[in-house]
Amino acid sequence: MHAQLIPTTLCEEAAIAFADLLKGRAGGGLNDEHFSRDWSPLWDELVRDGWTVIADRPDAEFSLLDLTAFARAWGSYLVPLPFLPTLAVRRGLDTPPEPDARLSYAVAEQGTTLVPYGPTARVVLTADGLTGPDALPTAAGIDDWAASAPTTLLPAGTGPASAAMRRDGAILSAAEAVGAAAAVLRRSVEYAKVREQFGQPIGRFQAIKHRLANMHCSVELAASALAWACFEPDDAARALTLALGHCLQVAEGAVQVHGGIGYTWEASPHRYYRHIMSMRRIVAAAVGQA
């Protein structure tokens, strides 16, 4: 019998390989080029290497908890592709579509319907089933608060996906936020090691050190909340709300540690911050419903 509250060894090794792949393809600077790029080649590579089908049933190799390990790796790289919604939808289908299908799902929010990564998806799961682009109601708009996580806004009243599906989607979105938080923490630690003031790296000052230590604890707690949500699905709203709260604290801390630079558009902290904020919106909509 394997460990269950933590990813299996097999999964951890696969998640490392996955992260290495992403680092090679998306590990550069978070500049305009990153966000305006055509990411289709990466999608094709994910399909070719079998990553898009890792959640497929019935022979699912990975538990939901395992999938959060991949989701965290994904979230560290801020790639605007519907990889995680695809996994979430495929996990809930008895017969998933072809491996290259770019999928997402609908969640109801007060006054609107959200489709995570909608602008990058081709097919959306609603209450009426898998719905192609022509059958969808005309998009009301796009929320691109985070260029890394564009969200389609459909009119209110589009039937949302099932509660179980939304919950899986929310868990992976929360895991994605944890990955983003871990990444911006890493960047903040590196910054603190390199940035010098008063003749030494600012990372030597306890105020900075202790803030970064707090941020690390937040990432740990957010990750533990994912396990809670996976194993006690009825508590998903409580667990994921806590998780996203911790991720937000990490993002806030990252701006603080970067000082004035952290407050600029050109620097990277706000990219992770916006991504986490967008994940929060999706999670709140997805599990806030009956």
Binding site: I6, G203, K209, L212, A213, E220, A225, W228, A239
Partner: protein, 376 residues
């Protein structure tokens, strides 16, 4: 190397929990829920309960069977701690022996020491205390000055320890001493199992802000300890101390802290009845406790899988200690008639959670320097 179940989801754990619950149903009632007894009676009650646990074969579950344990692992230990709290039984007196002395002997002791001390820890024949801190060596433990000078087949110990909990009734002490002033600060230290009942060992109670006097200054005046009680070689003291400190901040203590938190949160729920704002706060604190519990359980599964959980210990300690203080503060501020005396006692008593076993400041230094790699 721990064995036993590898996951909380194992069916063996469900069986273990069921077996435990039925034993507790029979054995716990005479010991349960006794909160308003005096200190001497409380000590006797805890000692008696511990003997029940020993008799039933539930003590030291994760020790190897050849040392008297059941060869189980940290998951079973955690489940045991949780079920005992649910049954409202008191904690035994053997915490330091089981959680701190035993790892020192398993990790650094000789076979003779294990044969001598472990059965007495298992059967709760000995009560242990911890002699680390000194007036000038708190956070900076390497500044220890209490000396141990070799004299034939024994050492003579001179100096003073402080914050020694249970020092006034302990039989043995895990004592960090300085045996060499020529080696560097960290390398001149040596660990001993110090016999406490001798004229050269003088504990003096210290009164705490809560009104209790659970800890002591302990004066060592040519106190004697045999060479056979030295744990590890001369100069190994820092390494042995680190084994002990990691255990102190590890899952064993976290599990106990979580158990305390559960009890407090139940009390808080009582105090919040009929007060929606308070109930909301209590619910948020409960969610934080639940996440902390999942964090501890994940760390335990990592330990059971032999994946390194050591970095987790500072994080866990920081989190449970600060959460405990937040719960206590909320309870105190509610000022409910039934529990106000208890909360105000806890408000003062809980200050020690972020000071003892490595202050929060030290834990944050450890996390930032050793886990994140920030410069010292």
């Amino acid at each position: 190397m721990p064995s036993g179940a590898s996951s909380f989801a194992d069916s063996s754990i469900a069986d273990f929990r069921a077996e435990l619950r039925s034993w507790l149903e029979r054995a716990a009632p005479p010991y349960a829920g006794q909160t308003s007894i005096g200190e001497i009676e409380a000590i006797e009650l805890r000692r008696a309960w511990e003997q029940e646990v020993v008799r039933a074969g539930y003590n030291c579950l994760s020790w190897p069977t050849e040392s008297g344990g059941r060869g189980l692992g940290p998951i079973e230990e955690f489940v045991f701690a949780e079920e005992c709290v649910a049954a409202s039984v008191p904690e035994g007196l053997g915490r330091i022996g089981r959680l701190l002395a035993a790892p020192a002997f398993f990790g650094h002791g000789t076979p003779e020491q294990r044969a001598r001390f472990l059965p007495r820890i298992l059967h709760q024949d000995d009560i242990w205390c911890q002699g680390f801190s000194e007036p000038n060596a708190g956070s900076d433990l390497a500044n220890v000055q209490t000396s141990a000078r070799r004299d034939g087949d024994r050492y003579l110990v001179n100096g003073q320890k402080i914050w020694t909990s249970f020092g006034h009734y302990s039989d043995w002490c895990l004592l960090v001493t300085r045996t060499s002033t020529q080696a560097s600060r960290h390398r001149g230290l040596t660990m001993f199992a110090m016999p406490m009942h001798q004229p050269g060992v003088q504990p003096r109670r210290i009164r705490q802000i809560s009104g209790d006097s659970e800890f002591n200054e302990v004066f060592y005046d040519n106190a004697e300890v045999g060479v056979d009680c030295r744990i590890g070689a001369e100069g190994d003291g820092w390494r042995v101390a680190m084994t002990i400190l990691t255990a102190e901040r590890g899952v064993g203590y976290a599990a106990l802290a979580l158990s305390d938190l559960r009890v407090m949160l139940e009390m808080l729920d009582h105090c919040a009845l009929g007060n929606p704002a308070a109930a909301g706060e209590a619910a948020r604190l409960r969610d934080r406790m639940v996440v902390t519990r999942w964090q501890v359980m994940c760390a335990i599964e990592r330990m059971a899988a032999d994946r390194d959980a050591t970095p987790s210990s500072s994080i866990m300690k920081l989190i449970w200690s600060e959460l405990t203080q937040d719960v206590v503060r909320t309870g105190f501020e509610l000022n409910c008639p039934e529990h106000r005396d208890r909360w105000r006692y806890l408000e003062l008593d809980a200050r020690s959670d972020t000071i003892a076993s490595g202050s929060s400041e030290i834990q944050r230094n450890i996390i930032s320097e050793r886990v994140l790699g920030l410069p010292r």
